[in-house]
């Protein structure tokens, strides 16, 4: 199950996001890490230090690309310059799969630089799936779409979020980057059962899993990636790997970033769930 056509038949373990405050530590100490996830847009540039660091990382580590601005759900066509640069980077990193979010963020050529929520309609699913197909065909690598955290719902929605995700991935025949923290955040903001969400996803399409921390406010939760993972999110993670098997897992920590070791240790907590799942499969 874990190595599937949506993650290039790889069997990656537990990774962490490659972030600038950790560059020095990684390049000098060369810690043992299964893999790093990079934010594609940070490296879709012509030269300089970021690319030099990336090349040094690539010499020693496996790297997977994760994007933040493809906006599969935007009604407009993909940006050709974006695609061209992304493909250049794909060739450089040899990433086995590429992921980006199931959201929109630009309209009429104007970018919000945010992950805006989708209306869960059949029209939106069709448009989004078409775009995912176009991007995958252009990049020539498997594509996985990630569920986002959201703070708003639309009157026009015709289905639940997980039904919409299923509709898109079936139409696009693509993979899922299942973010269990995002499921938790949205479940609290929209009062749905997160376990029902995880249980409804086609497990055979899960290419990768994201875990992260968030910030709780009085009336809602924000997906801030600046805290350790909380227990209810680990529970969802456990449920996800019970269904999907030993899947490539990545911890996101993007703000108030602690030491490399602290971030890596937090990610490695996933091991206890992975081991339990392996054991359960063995017996």
């Amino acid at each position: 199950m874990p190595a599937n056509r949506f993650n290039g038949f790889t069997d990656y373990g537990i990774g962490i996001g490659l972030r600038a405050p950790h560059y020095q530590h990684i390049l000098t100490r060369k810690p043992v890490v299964d893999w790093f996830e990079i934010i594609s847009e940070n490296f879709m540039i012509d030269g300089g230090r970021p690319l030099q660091v990336l090349d040094e990382i690539l010499e020693q580590y496996k790297v997977v690309q994760h994007g933040v601005s493809m906006y599969f759900g935007s009604a407009e066509k993909p940006n050709r310059e974006h695609l061209r640069r992304l493909k250049e980077l794909v060739k450089r990193t040899k990433t086995p799969w590429v992921s980006d979010h199931l959201c929109w963020g630009s309209v009429d050529g104007r970018y919000t630089h945010d992950l805006l929520p989708m209306p869960y309609t059949f029209e939106a699913a069709k448009i989004t799936a078409q775009k995912v197909r176009e991007v995958r065909d252009f990049l020539e690598v498997p594509v996985a779409v990630e569920n986002v955290s959201s703070y708003a719902e639309f009157h026009v929605s015709e289905m639940t979020e997980w039904e919409f995700l299923n509709e898109v991935v079936e139409r696009a025949d693509c993979g899922i980057l299942l973010d269990v923290n995002n499921i938790y955040v949205s479940s609290q903001n929209h009062s749905f059962d997160p376990v029902a969400y995880v249980s409804s996803i086609p497990a055979e399409r899960i290419a990768q899993i994201h875990i992260a921390g968030h910030s709780k406010y009085r009336k809602y939760i924000l997906d801030t990636h600046d805290h350790p993972v909380i227990d209810p999110v680990w529970k969802l993670y456990e449920r996800a790997i019970q269904r999907a098997g030993h899947t490539a897992t990545l911890l996101e920590w993007d703000d108030s970033i602690p030491s490399f070791q602290e971030v890596h240790n937090e990610a490695l907590k996933a091991n206890r769930f992975l081991s339990a799942t392996l054991l359960a499969t063995a017996v």
Binding site: G48, L51, E81, Y111, H113, L116, Y151, E153, V156
Partner: protein, 299 residues
């Protein structure tokens, strides 16, 4: 509501400036009450109204983009002051919203926009424009393309004065009316120091910076913003150097670039060959020339 219409409706609200207390405006972009505008397409829940849910995205948009401007233009902030800088950024983002997939390009239009809106910098307009040029050049030099460096042996048999030398794309050349390189270095040093400083110390630093800006006198300088080992440096150059490098960047042949640059120079005639030789030696050492392109003019 169809997808495109919904996205246009939401984007208009999300990209509308916040109030002075950083809340969503009560009036929607179409002049109606924002409450009914939001309620048209966003569901409320048991804790938040449609307005409040939309407001989360409205605030995130502005916080994210303003934070990006602040990160990219700390020098301009020190010239304008915190409040004016923030107000200017809001006006700039309204006029020039991001049209790129990366926030790296958000400030690409700032120099030309600021040139057309002198009210933001007032008497400091020339200084403000200079610092924006420098900060944008810094961004371009940081991640601009580097091509293979010219090797000396490539020059043997090359076409003398008709030779077309190509400058590294990351090298940025600036003709500035103020010595803003010193100012920017000072601002950055302050920012690094204040990361670990007390509030009182930060206030003293801020006052010192305001004084430094106020006292900055015009002084025409020429600057090359470049990279060594992937770190960006500001190198002051002579007017003649600037002229040669600019001409080369525009694709002029070597002979014409040197001839035009030395027209009207104050460098004594007999000292010119040595000066030119020294400049080229420096530039070559810094790796500023790209490998020769295989075209007839260079053979």
């Amino acid at each position: 509501m169809k997808l495109l219409k919904l996205q246009r409706t939401m984007a208009r609200a999300v990209m509308q400036p916040l109030t002075s207390s950083e809340r969503m405006q009560r009036k929607a972009p179409d002049g109606r009450a924002m409450r009914s505008y939001a309620a048209r397409f966003i569901k409320p829940n048991d804790r938040l109204t449609s307005f409040e849910r939309l407001e989360i995205y409205n605030r995130q948009y502005w916080f994210r983009l303003l934070s990006s401007m602040l990160e990219d233009f700390p020098g301009l902030r020190s010239v304008l002051g915190d409040r004016r800088f923030e107000a200017m950024c809001k006006a700039y983002i309204v006029d020039c919203p991001s049209r790129s997939f990366t926030l790296r390009n958000l400030g690409a239009q700032l120099e030309s926009w600021l040139g057309k809106h002198p009210q933001w910098a007032g008497r400091k307009q020339a200084l403000a424009l200079d610092i924006v040029r420098l900060e944008w050049a810094d961004i371009e030099a940081f991640d601009g393309q580097a091509e293979p460096v010219l090797r000396l042996e490539e020059l043997s048999g090359a076409a003398g004065e008709n030779l077309r030398l190509k400058l590294q794309p990351y090298v940025q050349l600036l003709d500035l009316r103020y010595p803003v390189d010193d100012l920017l270095l000072e601002v950055r040093k302050d920012d690094e120091d204040t990361d670990f400083a007390s509030n009182a110390f930060q206030e003293r630093r801020k006052r010192k910076r305001v004084q430094a800006v106020a006292q900055l006198k015009p002084d025409n300088i020429f600057l090359a913003v470049h990279r060594i080992d992937n770190s960006v440096y500001f190198r002051r150059i002579q007017r003649e150097e600037f002229a040669i490098l600019t001409a080369l960047k525009r694709g002029k042949p070597l002979g014409k670039a040197i001839e035009a640059a030395l027209r009207g120079t104050s460098i004594a005639l007999e000292e010119r060959p040595a000066a030119v030789q020294k400049w080229f030696q420096n530039w070559a050492t810094l790796g500023w020339f790209c490998q020769l392109q295989k075209n007839p003019a260079n053979s």
